[in-house]
């Protein structure tokens, strides 16, 4: 594949054809805020926190999806681009609970001087979490409708199509078909939606309980890479332990067998190792 050369903030960058502006920025050690961009997913293009300015384009463009052209001139740090990203982060953080978004995003908020308190009155915070089983929790007060769970459940990974976005405006929410309860829906409880959720709106039950109780402490956790104990496909698992107890099981998104995905047994079926009658 041919290489393309572009200019980013005055510097020359060369990337393979097909790269996005975000890829190009990251290839030279830079970065931009993202939320809806998942490394294993096609860009959903909905959160708008990664906007940059491209010379010759009237509107700002989303860097996570805009593919690089030869000779393109990109500005990531103009007042216009920064202002756009700042306001979008403020709007998102004022309308949903972003407390559990990863640390990198908090750093972006700080870096941009984003102040969510400038916007009040329109929020989904306070919506009760849906805790309906022992496997995972849907804490939709934290949901920013980034579509990552929808895409993972749909054609890009799981192909189960159990969920999508329903409703409009502040009524927009992640819904099963006809809004039926999860056990009556097409959901197969693979938890591949949890794996891609950037905000903690979807979380394993144990992790969510511990976070609610304030006992989840990433600094006291260890991660051990191993292989699932069930069928013979060889899915890699990361066992997260805290003080000698398993608190979560995930799969590495850079592993070519799983791309971070698992089935219900792999993600949730490990409690036999801590079974009391073992």
């Amino acid at each position: 594949m041919a290489d393309l050369t572009l200019t980013i903030d005055g510097g020359t960058v060369t990337v393979p054809e097909g790269s996005t502006i975000l890829d190009a920025v990251r290839s030279v050690g830079g970065d931009l805020p993202t939320l809806c961009h998942g490394p294993t997913l096609e860009p959903a293009n909905v959160c708008r926190v990664c906007m940059v300015e491209v010379e010759g384009a009237g509107a700002l463009v989303p860097s996570c999806s805009r593919v690089v052209d030869e000779g393109m001139v990109v500005h990531t740090d103009t007042d216009r681009a920064r202002h756009s990203r700042t306001v979008v982060m403020e709007l998102l953080a004022s309308s949903a609970d972003l407390e559990r978004v990863d640390d990198r995003f908090s750093a972006w908020m700080e870096d941009h001087g984003a102040d969510p308190a400038r916007f009040t009155g329109a929020t989904i915070e306070g919506r009760p979490a849906k805790v309906h089983d022992d496997l995972y929790v849907r804490d939709y007060a934290r949901c920013i409708l980034c579509y990552r769970c929808v895409d993972a459940c749909g054609e890009q990974h799981q192909n189960t199509f159990a969920i999508t976005v329903a409703g409009r405006g502040f009524d927009a929410h992640i819904s099963t078909e006809f809004d039926v309860a999860l056990p009556d829906s097409a959901c197969v409880y693979c938890g591949n939606c949890i794996a891609v959720c950037p905000t903690g709106a979807l979380e394993g039950k144990i992790a969510w309980d511990m976070k609610e109780a304030g006992t989840w402490d990433i600094d006291r956790q260890e991660v051990t890479r191993t292989v699932c104990s069930y069928c013979g496909v060889g899915c890699n698992l990361d066992i997260h332990t805290q003080e000698g107890a398993i608190v979560d099981v995930t799969s590495p998104e850079d592993h070519d067998v799983t791309l971070g995905n698992l089935c219900i047994k792999g993600r949730f079926g490990w409690s036999f190792v801590v079974s009391v009658d073992e």
């Binding site: 309906h132 089983d133 022992d134 496997l135 054609e155 990974h157 799981q158 192909n159 999860l182 056990p183 197969v188 409880y189 693979c190 260890e222 051990t224 890479r225 191993t226 292989v227 699932c228 104990s229 069930y230 069928c231 013979g232 496909v233 060889g234 899915c235 890699n236 066992i239 332990t241 000698g244 107890a245 398993i246 592993h255 070519d256 067998v257 799983t258 791309l259 995905n261 698992l262 089935c263 219900i264 047994k265 792999g266 949730f268 079926g269 490990w270 409690s271 036999f272 190792v273 801590v274 079974s275 009658d277 073992e278």
Partner: protein, 534 residues
């Protein structure tokens, strides 16, 4: 196949192939992440054929579902082969250069006309022809199977019938074309690799070969029996005849996993002495004289091998509970008690010893397994990248290695015949959220778990006058159980299904037959004749 027991292909190949056959495999439920790769292939334009008695979740993704009658796979495969030959779609260049036995194969399949096979299998002749044409004319094709092929009295012959199709069309030994038995347990492949087979030493080396055996004997400083041991079905016979009086069971639950469960219970109860080494007090362990509590998943170090022959590291994350010990530690302790002072060695040292003795694993150091996310055998030295697909040698011209043999097979119906008293064909399988006899999977709470049931077609249920949830008696020539009815739209009239996961409630192996394949020793779990009484 053709020597080493493993699938030929990598999962990545199925994403790029033109035609996918899922034969006797409900991978959507039994191997969900493998099926992710299948679905990528489908989205990339591959045609998917599902050959299965049930219209499974896998079949619902297929371009064409061939609803075959249980146990008639050879008739279908032979008709596919015959049709390919008749239409002149076979790869004569490949057959001439790289195979043997084609003429005998062609003669053997000649009587399996489309019409004859349609009568045996219940699959319309046009569907058989469509499958044959699609497979033979595809640029690349992957033929995948699981226990729907192997859990029959003639499972090995079933596999040969499928291999023959790959040889006929040249769909083996090339990127995108291969034969893919998807393994049901996380290390059933690795168990075979390590020589946990009655006739093999590690690396699929023949125990009856004097040269090979002497290499192991000098490395181990011990004599190895010169003859192959017994597979499970021969062991069962030997227990029946009183030849085997003592049994050491590691990580297996034969009380509930073996066909014809009441016969198995009599066998185990009749032993002089039994040791069970397991992570739980299984029904088998309950019968044992000595139980050795073993450490389980997440509690031990080692390796496992997946269905694409990829050896990967498994690691310890937590300490085992109570007095449970690592399997290696238990075996070393046992050896010591028997007068052999084995060193206390970590798993890595045992692996390095294996690398000295098994050429296909020689290049797989722990460091490489770690750095490269696993390696696919054969990997004969540390500079070797591993082998994404097998049998590329069959395309070397001139061929410098052994030719691949066609093996002619004949359709022989399931041993447990249907008749007036036992008119319904019962088959078995897995469900998505559960696993084998439920020892592991029964411990987590799945919102989708539906428990044990006898699944019937709506036609059979209405003929019997039963409804969903009614408890019925299911009776075979060997036993009888009661189970709640579940109406299953994936079943045709005359076909019933039970999962294997709930032996405490619905012990399907009270019904199954222990007729077994003479080569593999696998019992015919998939074909039981039953009647259902309200």
């Amino acid at each position: 196949m053709f020597g080493a027991g493993g699938g030929t292909s990598s999962y990545a190949e199925i994403e790029e192939t033109d035609v996918i056959l899922m034969w006797g495999s409900n991978a959507r439920e039994a191997h969900p992440i493998f099926f992710h790769h299948v679905l990528k292939g489908v989205h990339n334009g591959a045609r998917l054929f599902a050959i299965d008695p049930r219209r499974t979740a896998t079949a619902s993704w297929a371009d064409l579902w061939l609803g075959i009658d249980v146990g008639s796979d050879i008739a279908l495969a032979n008709a596919v082969g015959r049709h390919i030959i008749e239409e002149g779609l076979h790869r004569t260049d490949f057959i001439d250069a790289a195979t043997t036995g084609f003429d005998a194969y062609a003669e053997a399949v000649d009587r399996y006309t489309l019409e004859h096979a349609a009568r045996i299998t219940g699959v319309p002749a046009s569907a058989i022809a469509e499958l044959a044409t699609a497979y033979a004319t595809a640029g690349t094709a992957q033929l995948c199977w699981t226990l729907g092929i192997t859990e029959h009295h003639n499972g090995t012959e079933n596999v040969h019938a499928l291999i023959d199709l790959a040889l006929l069309t040249g769909h083996v030994g090339r990127w995108g074309s291969g034969l893919v038995p998807i393994r049901g347990q996380n290390n059933v492949q690795g168990g075979g690799d390590m020589g946990a087979l009655p006739n093999k030493l590690p690396g699929f080396q023949d125990v009856e070969d004097d040269t090979i055996r002497s290499r192991f004997e000098s490395a181990w400083d011990a004599a190895i029996p010169t003859r192959s041991g017994k597979h499970i079905s021969l062991m069962n016979e030997a227990m029946d005849e009183g030849e085997i009086r003592c049994l050491y069971v590691l990580g297996e639950n034969p009380m509930q996993s073996e066909a014809d469960g009441s016969a198995m219970a009599r066998r185990l109860e009749g032993l002089d002495f039994m040791v069970a080494q397991d992570i739980f007090l299984t029904r088998t362990a309950e019968l044992a004289d000595v139980v050795l509590p073993a450490a389980g998943w997440g509690e031990t170090e080692g390796t496992v091998t997946s269905s694409e022959r990829r050896v990967q590291r498994s690691r310890k994350a937590i300490d085992p509970p109570g007095s449970a010990r690592d399997d290696i530690d238990i075996l070393a302790g046992l050896a010591r008690a028997l007068g052999h002072d084995w060193d206390d060695r970590p798993a890595k040292d045992h692996w390095d010893e294996l690398r000295l003795l098994s050429p296909m694993h020689a290049g797989m150091s722990y460091d490489r397994l770690e750095a490269e996310g696993g390696l696919q055998w054969p990997c004969p030295d540390e500079a070797h990248p591993g082998t994404p697909f097998l049998h590329g040698r069959l395309w070397d011209r001139p061929l410098t290695s052994k030719r691949a043999p066609f093996v002619a097979t004949e359709f022989v119906p399931p041993v447990d015949e249907l008749d007036h008293d036992y008119p319904i064909r019962l088959t078995t399988g897995r469900r998505l959220d559960s696993y084998n006899t439920g020892v592991q999977s029964g411990k987590y709470s799945s919102p989708r778990r539906i428990g044990g049931s006898i699944d019937l077609s709506s036609t059979d249920a209405s003929n019997l006058g039963v409804e969903e949830g009614d408890t019925v008696r299911v009776i075979s020539r060997r036993g009888e159980i009661s189970a709640p009815v579940r109406i299953d739209p994936t079943l045709r009239a005359g076909l019933a299904f039970m999962s294997i996961h709930f032996p405490d409630d619905t012990d399907v192996n009270q019904l199954t037959i222990d007729a077994w394949d003479p080569k593999a020793g696998t019992a015919e779990f998939k074909a039981t004749a039953v009647r259902v009484e309200a």
